[in-house]
């Protein structure tokens, strides 16, 4: 039998920390080793005997059972039922006590278990470092209220030392993904300027938008490119040259596009005319590059996937993000009552400025409970959830009877596997829209979005600009949520 006992000070009120910890189904929201979590069966996440089922970040599976919990002592105990490692007879405890002379609390996490003789050191290190210490660091980060630190991602040696070649006349430059992987795999290269074919236009591009889909495309999570290939789904610029039979639009027109296939992170691109939309005067090039894909997404999310009705209660996660800020404004413009969640103090400001009626910092409080309080226990008519693993389970709980949960992104990880039978408890509808399947009405949705801008109902915040060659840095910042709102590449 070995003991592992770890403790730390968390700089947050013990009541706030306990609210997170007492939820036996919350570890995936903050612990880096846990990718997804659900409570087995119908049980509540704070009911003694509840069994939680973890999918680990490394792919393994873990089942743990709550064996005691006390709100009075702010303490809980659980045991391991199944694990991919030999932690026999593992029983663990967490206890929280306030530090009364400052706004902090003392957290202890300890356990006893029987590791096999040859693996004592390895198992103790796994529990102490991989579980408890890593968990403490994540909790401190969670309650720190400061934006997460940008993880230092070393750029490849060649990337650091190469002087980016100046484009020669007649050459275009672009950011190529050499092979699927991290941002260091993005390399600036020149290529011949393409010529437009029938029904196509050559665009000299000024700005390209950076979207989460680009990151998924870079890593290979989405199978959209065969490297080496250029990333990017949206860009704006001017028409440089028209191909044969290209009519209805003039050379020099200011246009934008937002669609597959990827290839927008470059100076010159040929696109079919039907994918182009002429930009309104009220929108700068940078704003357009930051908002076209998101604006079109916002439009089909609120008109096709779910038709927002006047007075509907809407919950929008990640409301401070580039898409979230637009979605809040559009839903408000359509007459909805918008409840927004954000993860930082800066986010609170951004979501409030977007017009959300209620803004919840999901790191500080239990958003499900707040949503239920705000809706007299009824829940919301529709949830827009692009966060994924962190929020999806809560989104299901926050939805009203016959509510609609629209999962359209997985920024924090996959939502996991769900038994659709359980949705009958509230006759829930769950949608998983894919941009590619709604883009057939691109022009219509872009026009709807532009109309809202012209009416003043939607304001596009200025995005954070990066040089095209700094696309890797833009990806790092977007992945680490180091910036508020959208990112664009200046070409």
């Amino acid at each position: 039998m070995v003991d592992v006992r770890e403790s730390t000070i968390i700089d947050a009120p013990s009541a706030d920390v306990w609210r997170l910890l007492r939820d036996f189904n919350s570890h995936h929201r903050w612990h880096p080793a846990i990718a997804a979590s659900h409570i087995e069966g119908e049980g509540a996440p704070d009911a003694v005997r509840a069994v939680r089922n973890f999918r680990l970040a490394d792919g393994g599976q873990l089942r743990e059972q709550l064996i005691s919990i006390s709100d009075r002592d702010t303490r809980l105990s659980y045991c391991l039922l199944e694990a991919p490692v030999p932690l026999h007879n593992y029983v663990a405890h967490m206890r929280l006590r306030p530090v009364t002379d400052r706004n902090a609390c003392y957290l202890e996490w300890w356990s006893r278990f029987d590791p096999p003789a040859g693996e004592v050191t390895a198992m103790v290190e796994l529990v102490r470092d991989g579980v408890y210490r890593a968990g403490f660091a994540a909790l401190q980060d969670w309650f720190g209220g400061v934006p997460q630190q940008v993880k230092p991602v070393p750029l490849a040696q060649s990337e650091q030392e190469t002087v980016h070649p100046k484009p020669r006349a007649g050459h275009a430059r672009g950011i190529f993904v050499e092979s699927h992987g991290g941002p260091q795999n993005m390399v600036s290269k020149t290529f011949d300027i393409p010529r437009p074919g029938a029904g196509e236009a050559l665009i000299t591009q000024n700005f390209a938008g950076v979207n989460f889909i680009d990151i998924h495309t870079r890593t290979g999570h989405f199978n959209l490119i065969r490297p080496p290939a250029i990333l990017g789904m949206e860009a704006v610029g001017r028409i440089e040259m028209l191909g044969p039979d290209a009519q209805g639009i003039a050379v020099g027109s200011r246009v934008g596009y937002a669609c597959a296939p990827p290839g927008a992170y470059c100076s010159h691109r040929v696109m079919p005319l039907e994918s182009l939309v002429v930009l309104p005067d009220g929108l700068s090039d940078a704003q357009a590059a930051a908002s076209l894909l998101r604006g079109v997404t916002t439009s089909f999310l609120t008109r096709e996937v779910h038709r927002i009705g006047d007075g509907e209660n809407v919950l929008i996660h990640a409301a401070a993000g580039g898409l979230g800020q637009l979605l809040v404004q559009v839903c408000v413009a359509l007459g909805a009552r918008v409840i927004a969640t954000v993860g930082s103090a800066e986010g609170l400001v951004a979501a409030t400025e977007s017009g959300a009626h209620h803004v919840i910092n999901y790191r500080r409080s239990d958003f499900v409970r707040e949503v239920l309080d705000l809706t007299d226990g009824r829940g919301v008519d529709v949830v827009y959830d692009a966060v994924g693993a962190f929020t999806f389970e809560g989104s299901l709980r926050a939805a009203a009877i016959r509510g609609h949960v629209v999962s359209f992104g997985e920024a924090s990880g996959e939502v996991g596997i769900w038994d659709i039978g359980s949705f009958s408890a509230k006759s829930l509808r769950v949608s998983r829209p894919n941009y590619a399947h709604y883009v057939d009405r691109f022009i219509e949705h872009a026009s709807t979005f532009f109309t809202l801008i012209e009416k003043g109902a939607v304001r596009v915040p200025d995005p954070t600009e990066y040089r095209l060659e700094d696309a890797g840095k833009a990806h790092i910042d977007v992945e680490n949520r180091a910036i508020i709102g959208a990112a664009v590449l200046r070409i």
Partner: protein
């Protein structure tokens, strides 16, 4: 039953702090409000059951009995036998626990007691702030490294 709970983070290991506070006769050394102290009957100060009698700087006298002392858990439990405060059944515990991610400890001091209902708020404040928190505040600079 009234309850007081006070806690703080001290910049030293629990073993180091324990060296100062475990002696039941050491209050004059590390609190600002005890002028002098002795153990009755020439008993050792770590013998469970011993009684300390000490004079407060404001002139009052207190008698307290050691009920439990643990060098393993770093805890000290005692009761009040006589004091100027209108309390009865007063039992207090001072405890130290390590903060393992740094050379610090979590110090807690709690008490339960009976009193007249109208006195409870004032007594909780007096004991919590005037005694426990004041003693911790006085102890902190002694641990400054």
């Amino acid at each position: 039953m009234a309850r007081v709970f006070v806690s703080t983070v001290l910049n030293a290991s629990p073993a180091a702090v324990w060296r100062i506070v475990r002696d039941f006769n050491s209050l004059p050394d590390w609190t600002p409000f005890v002028a002098e102290s002795r153990i009755e009957g020439s008993q050792p100060s770590d013998r469970v059951g011993c009684v300390r009698i000490f004079k407060l700087t404001d002139g009052g006298t207190v008698r307290e009995q050691l009920l439990g002392l643990s060098d393993y858990d770093f805890t000290c439990t005692y009761s009040i036998l006589e004091s100027p405060m209108a309390v009865s059944d007063y039992v207090a515990t001072l405890a130290l626990a390590p903060v393992t991610d740094g050379n610090r400890c979590f110090a807690s001091w709690e008490a339960t007691f009976e009193c007249r209902p109208e006195d409870e708020t004032a007594l909780v404040r007096q004991i919590g702030e005037g005694v426990f928190q004041a003693a911790f505040a006085h102890l902190k600079p002694m641990l400054a490294r």
